[in-house]
């Protein structure tokens, strides 16, 4: 708060130079966005808190490694997303437990739409983490495909493909659609939560 005019890169440089307040200011600026990314990628507040803490601690310690050839926000998102994906890989061996996510406060369209059986945020939890991360970065956070590719450290084509498949799966659930046929009304086995759909969904990604 003390130096609102400073850019993120300046703050990071001051932190590396030993300014004890600079990193805290960076955190204040970006924590809500980090939180949103982690929460929507992981679908679980406890995991999101773990991932954000891991990420910000490693950003704190690794600040000297920031090369300056990308925006600080890109760099921070990269660290957060990596922490989320790492955490998902570690969780992969364990059974997932049912956890509720608070619905997004600001999504009147999604909530009011009559044919939407579940919210976008709930549906996001059914995606494999890599797809969820791509969708969160591009569609929700508004990063360009190029920026998302930098953050995820994958080619742009991979980002597009993960977004496309993620959106398809979300549409399937939000609109109660069959993924292949247009018989949207006679399906009654649409997964209604991540608990039911997580494992089969993850396995299908390899096809």
């Amino acid at each position: 708060m003390s130096a609102p005019s400073l850019g993120d890169a300046d703050l990071l440089a001051q932190h590396v130079a030993g300014d004890p307040n600079a990193f805290g200011e960076l955190v204040v600026r970006h924590r809500d966005r980090m939180w949103a990314v982690a929460l929507r990628t992981l679908g679980n507040p406890d995991d999101a808190a773990d991932a954000v803490q891991d990420a910000l601690l490693s950003a704190y310690r690794g600040a000297a490694g920031f090369r300056g050839n990308s925006a600080v926000t890109t760099w921070l998102h990269r660290i957060v997303v990596n922490a989320c994906l790492d955490l998902t890989r570690r969780r992969a061996v364990r059974p997932t437990q049912p956890l509720l996510i608070e619905p997004a406060t600001n999504a009147p369209d999604a909530i009011s739409r009559r044919d939407t059986a579940i919210t976008v945020t709930e549906a996001l939890r059914s995606l494999p983490a890599e797809q969820a991360a791509a969708v969160v970065l591009v569609d929700i956070e508004g990063f360009s495909v190029d920026e998302a590719a930098q953050i995820l450290d994958v080619p742009t084509g991979t980002v597009k493909s993960r977004c496309a498949r993620g959106r398809a799966r979300l549409a399937e659930q939000l609109h109660d659609l069959d993924p292949r046929r247009d018989s949207g009304t006679d399906r009654n086995d649409v997964p209604s939560s991540r608990v039911e759909s997580l494992e089969p969904t993850k396995n299908k990604e390899k096809k």
Binding site: D32, Q53, L56, R61, D139
Partner: protein, 325 residues
């Protein structure tokens, strides 16, 4: 016209420009004439729009408080340790069968050995004491990959963040060379330890006497190679690392601690030095550990560890491609 309906995946890929030109124009032509598919395409558009309309989320106050505490803790770390990877983060990356600190387990095992020894000797069954003791001690020397010997080097050379990724995998080629008996001897003199080889006595270097079947020619060149002391004449091991060079149990306990894996079995170690100007470290005695990556057979995990081997001892961590993969 293409009569097959388009899958949601195909529709999403069409919208994202991922379909090949011919396939895309066929899909577009179908879409223009098929109400059902157009409805599905609309549903996709609605989905993307709903995602874009998701608003910001504020980090809850309890998470903010937790973060502040964690960062305050990080701020108290000594400045020389602030530019290095976080051991906690690295450890959590590895699959851990058991999560308690290995040091505690090691002392429990040591106590168990003593207790077994005392009671059985009291009953005049020394053989059973011996076998019980070795059973109890098994976690210290058993490896998760029994066919993989540990190559131990004492190069004393200085690694840097730049050279680490190139030099560390070479420790493994020293393994191969030694096992083949060619004794090419890259950096330092590798001593290859068969899995389960007993830890040496205090003050005696790990040497040919414990590794007769795989001892490198470099060691054999010494007159009277059966004498471990002669092999121990290298004094390239920085003094603070002598403890680990002398005690395989100590070495493995440290390996277990840094990886948070009770039976961690490094593929190679080097008693060496570490320079990293950005962390103000110059020729700091350090153990280089090379492990197989638990998730990817093509990767090696390389740890640079300070002699203290505690939570602030990780000086660097990197994943490198396994040679030949």
């Amino acid at each position: 016209m293409n009569e097959a309906h388009l899958s949601l995946d195909e529709l999403a890929e069409l919208a994202e420009g991922l379909l090949a030109r011919r396939k895309a124009s066929a899909a577009q032509a179908h879409l223009d004439t098929c109400d059902a598919c157009r409805a599905r395409a609309d549903a996709l558009d609605h989905t993307t729009a709903a995602l874009r309309e998701l608003g910001p989320v504020a980090m809850p106050a309890d998470v903010v408080a937790r973060l502040d505490r964690a960062l305050a803790g990080a701020a108290q770390a000594p400045p020389g340790e602030t530019m290095v990877p976080d051991l906690g983060a690295v450890r959590r990356r590895r699959r851990a069968a058991v999560s308690w600190p290995y040091a505690a387990a090691a002392s429990v095992v040591a106590i168990a050995v003593i207790a077994v020894g005392v009671t059985t000797i009291g009953r005049h069954h020394p053989e059973s004491a011996g076998s019980s003791a070795s059973t109890a001690e098994a976690p210290l020397v058993s490896t998760s990959a029994p066919s993989q010997p540990l190559v131990q080097q004492e190069s004393g050379q200085t690694y840097t963040p730049t050279s680490l990724a190139a030099l560390a995998p070479q420790l493994l080629s020293a393994t191969a060379d030694s096992a083949a008996g060619s004794g090419a001897g890259g950096v330092g003199s590798p001593s290859v330890l068969a899995p389960g080889a007993p830890a040496p006595q205090n003050g005696v270097r790990l040497g040919p006497s414990t590794t007769a079947q795989t001892a490198p020619k470099a060691a054999g060149a010494l007159p009277g190679a059966t004498g471990a002391q002669e092999f121990a004449t290298t004094n390239r091991v920085p003094a603070p690392l002598r403890h680990y060079a002398d005690s395989r149990a100590a070495l493995l306990a440290c390996a277990a601690y840094i990886t948070d894996t009770p039976h961690a079995s490094p593929l190679a170690v080097d008693f060496a030095r570490w320079s990293n100007p950005s962390a103000h470290l110059h020729n700091a005695p350090s153990v280089i550990f090379v492990f197989a990556d638990p998730d990817d057979v093509h990767l090696l995990d390389v740890y640079v560890v300070a002699p203290t081997c505690n939570s602030s001892s990780l000086r660097d961590f990197t994943e490198v491609r396994r040679p030949g993969s």
